[in-house]
Symmetry: C3
Subunit: 255 residues, 3 copies
């Protein structure tokens, strides 16, 4: 199985699929091709949330603002999975998740010779590399000469929140398609508080387990499916109602 | 085969696919993941139009504004198909279509124990349930303990038009991506009238079998692929030209 | 393998998939369903760029502003591929590419009897025809009575640029989702000029092999993955920065 993630929109992902299917009859599963353009950080967040739900697979990831520059093309083996993409950090958070920590990650640089283009390595480098990893096997692809051990990879980490008994301070990591503002604050701070209120950036809001627990268009603070605190509106957009955007500080007072 | 329908956008559907593929190697086919947010009625219309074209399949449907509340999670067996989703009516119109009427539907409530989240039952309840129905078989999944007979399901019906020899009165059920306003008036009222005119909400418009039968940007009344009367514009948006939106009354005078 | 391309958005493509899967267990691969509405020319461009990357396949293409009129429904055999769609030119450029020229194309008209609708031949004509071609075999489908030799097909060609040692003059063929303005000028005019400048419509711009070779928001002229000259902006929209739209003239002075 090969999953595909990119910021390409259409129809460029289809060219990647064609290239893969020249070399492999793997099942192909799209994760998303509408990740925000060249936004390595947001893609890294979503990949960490979604890819661990898959059975062992090769994951092709092309969010690649540095295409054609000297940034490396890499494969990370993490647990039973392999991640194929540019060395710009986009693969690291999910690799740590899949490998159970940094030490479990094995990294390899891809060298398939000169690519046909300098502007579409998704098609000319990463897709054939993903097919090759799939055909060679996630556990042993490095026996192929296209792969050499790599180190000094670019890293990407998400900020850590500060949490004490009275207050949690973090930031908005992403806003999802529904308008839910997903923070880096662990949902556990809301344990036992459903039905109560907290104060978010100075304004009180109810804590509820579900969106529909409040009336339509009303704000709530909940624990999203990722396990983090989420600022939401029932049938509306939480990021607008709470007045926050990606990167904005979120202070939650628990009293 | 498992089809997937939701209002999730991306990348949440990929998490559902990962969960399914942990338990099943079913073919997965996306129906749509951009159904209007939390609009049970519109999704119900489209599912009724599209799913009957599939061979026997498990259809996973997650338009679920009440996620995490006490609304039930259900499977409806209808003909050779099984429909998996929330008990909010979204499955009923297509179930009636597939089962040849209400009496042919068999309903089961899903109980997989406490889900991992209260905000993403698509991933934590419906996806594993769909995989289980698929693996157990559409004809016999209820032998698994996760499924118990259900009754008193939430219903959803579309309004009936009134039709006589001179006039048909109905409403706009949905507007498709092209801007075609699809009504609940049966296309049969236009039998033998191609090339003639009718009066729609007081304004005359030509009746034609195809969009291109009128000049670009011109209005027409036609029979859409669903068999209903459709208000359209050749290479334009019918809902704007006819001044109608979903739910608006449409009176068609036939003289 | 059957690929699918249309301007349908959702959920109409799912109806085509259901119909195909009634008759075939072919692998289905989406190319794009968000091609610009009824824009035969743009779809023809993209299909020519993308489909040649696929292994032998049946390619279902439904950009069909003349649906239901007397435009023919056709299959073009081109190399090891078959292209199924309306006879409006959309299939011709890619057919020439796949067949190695016009002479390699074999054309057949589809006759499956009266279709169920006059407004959705994607579902009622092209999808069953694609399944039939797939099941019968790309090399011998014409033995089935649904297919008869066709001639006098509608053609579609892209304008030719004029190129000499000092200047290339062409036009913008399409703008991709990133905002890159893709011209019909061959990229070979930029050979040996990376790091230099050219003058595009009177304004100087750097020639670079990669987007990231210039600072964010800066313009560049490059060779896109299609091999043509592309007007781009690093992390921005080239068509806006260069002030061009599809069909606009592009004059590139090389001195």
């Amino acid at each position: 199985m090969i999953t595909l993630s990119s910021d390409f929109g259409t129809p460029y992902p289809a060219a990647m699929k064609g290239v893969i299917l020249q070399d492999s009859d793997a099942r192909l599963v799209d994760v998303a091709h509408d990740f925000p353009r060249q936004d390595v950080r947001t893609a890294a967040f979503w990949l960490r949330e979604v890819l661990p739900y898959f059975p062992p697979a090769v994951h092709l990831v092309v969010i690649d603002p540095g295409v054609g520059t000297d940034r490396a093309a890499v494969v990370l083996r993490a647990g039973d999975h392999a991640l194929v993409g540019p060395d710009n950090g986009v693969l690291r958070p999910v690799a740590r998740e899949l490998a159970g920590g940094e030490d479990g990650i094995e990294a390899f640089e891809i060298d398939l010779g000169d690519p046909a283009s300098s502007t579409f390595h998704g098609r000319d480098v990463f897709a054939p590399a993903a097919a090759l990893v799939h055909e060679a096997g996630i556990g042993e692809f490095e026996t192929r000469e296209a792969f050499a051990p790599a180190d000094d990879l670019v890293d990407l980490t998400f900020p850590e929140p500060t949490v004490d008994d009275e207050r949690a301070t973090g930031e908005v990591l992403v806003v999802d398609d529904f308008g839910n503002a997903i923070t880096n604050v662990p949902g556990s701070i809301l344990d036992g508080r459903y039905g109560d209120h907290v104060t978010v950036n100075g304004e009180r809001a109810p804590v509820e387990p579900t969106y529909a627990a409040v009336d339509p268009d009303q704000r709530l603070v909940t624990v999203g499916s990722h396990g983090n605190v989420e600022l939401a509106v029932n049938r509306g957009r939480g990021e607008a109602a709470f007045g926050v955007a990606v990167g904005d500080r979120v202070a939650i007072d628990l009293d």
